[in-house]
């Protein structure tokens, strides 16, 4: 059963954020940037969700949970880019820099390297982010169902996913679901600085069915 997330799902949502940020590798980008381990970063993310910022992907209204036998099995975050007039990446950066000013300031050089692989999200495209299936429920079509649900919910609109190129399993699933790579941005410094698990970012899109 697929349902919209609520406050009580925060722990599972945070698990989805952490695991999707690892993106199949062993680097948690927020730890590389701000020196905060997943457990330490959790309070910041919780505070952002509690702020209920319009247009911010980290907002319960943009999260969907797929439940199996009463257990949260998978989650994803989805929103229409630019619908509130501001880029979601900009909103995200603005919020983090406001809540973690000292860490943001200290991470400036690393942030500049990261921005070299930033691909602007396309306005009007439905974004899918933080796609995550719990270990116990893998191989049961949990994510395919969630993605299909989003395709039907936003029927007639184009879709976009950004993912690290090194996350081969995820890229294969997205291609199986009809996405194709539109853009790729790489910077070897990203891996040298251990900022992300892969030094290339992919932008995949899918036109409406």
């Amino acid at each position: 059963m697929i349902r919209q997330a609520s406050h009580q799902d925060f722990d599972f949502i945070y698990e989805a954020i952490v695991q999707s940020e690892y993106s199949g590798g062993d680097i948690f980008p927020y730890e590389s940037l701000f020196g905060m381990k997943p457990a330490e970063f959790k309070e910041t993310v919780f505070n952002i969700f509690e702020e209920e910022i319009d247009g911010m992907p980290w907002h319960y209204e943009h999260w969907y949970i797929n439940e199996l036998n009463g257990h949260a099995a998978g989650a994803l975050c989805s929103w229409v880019e630019g619908s509130d007039g501001l880029s979601s990446d900009l909103l995200h950066a603005q919020t983090l820099s406001f809540l973690l000013p000292a860490q943001w300031q200290a991470a400036k050089i690393k942030l500049e390297s990261l921005s070299s692989v930033t691909i602007p999200r396309v306005n009007g495209f439905v974004q899918l982010e933080h796609l995550y299936t719990s270990q116990d429920f893998r191989g049961r079509g949990v994510m395919r169902e969630l993605m299909q649900f989003i395709f039907e919910t936003y029927s007639g609109k184009p879709f976009e996913i950004q993912v690290l190129k090194g996350n081969i399993k995820a890229v294969s699933l997205y291609e199986y679901m009809g996405f194709s790579v539109q853009n790729e941005k790489c910077n070897p410094a990203i891996k040298n600085l251990a900022l992300l698990s892969s030094d290339c970012k992919l932008q995949l899109t899918k036109q409406h069915e």
């Binding site: 702020e51 910022i53 319009d54 247009g55 911010m56 007039g85 501001l86 880029s87 990446d89 900009l90 909103l91 995200h92 950066a93 603005q94 919020t95 820099s97 406001f98 809540l99 943001w104 942030l111 500049e112 921005s115 930033t118 602007p120 306005n123």
Partner: protein
């Protein structure tokens, strides 16, 4: 301090932060209209504006800003004009 004076003061800040001297400050200017305007340069610009005008934006205000016109309104408000 009036709207025109704020616009004039913003001009060199934008030119420096976005490394683009061709930017013309207008009320409807936003990130979509400047190639160099990404999340990082945006935050540098906000920091420079706060420093120049000796003000501090709240999170809600930062999020509510859709264009330069909104920012000028907030600066005017914060300077008590």
């Amino acid at each position: 301090m009036n709207r025109e004076e704020i616009t004039s003061a913003l001009s060199p800040i934008f030119h420096r932060v976005f490394n683009n001297n061709e930017i013309i400050i207008t009320d409807d200017l936003n990130a979509e209209k400047v190639d160099q305007w990404d999340s990082l340069t945006h935050l540098n610009m906000i920091a420079e504006v706060e420093k120049h005008f000796e003000i501090k934006f709240k999170l809600k205000e930062l999020i509510g800003m859709k264009n330069v016109g909104d920012m000028i309104d907030l600066i005017l408000q914060k300077k008590g004009v």
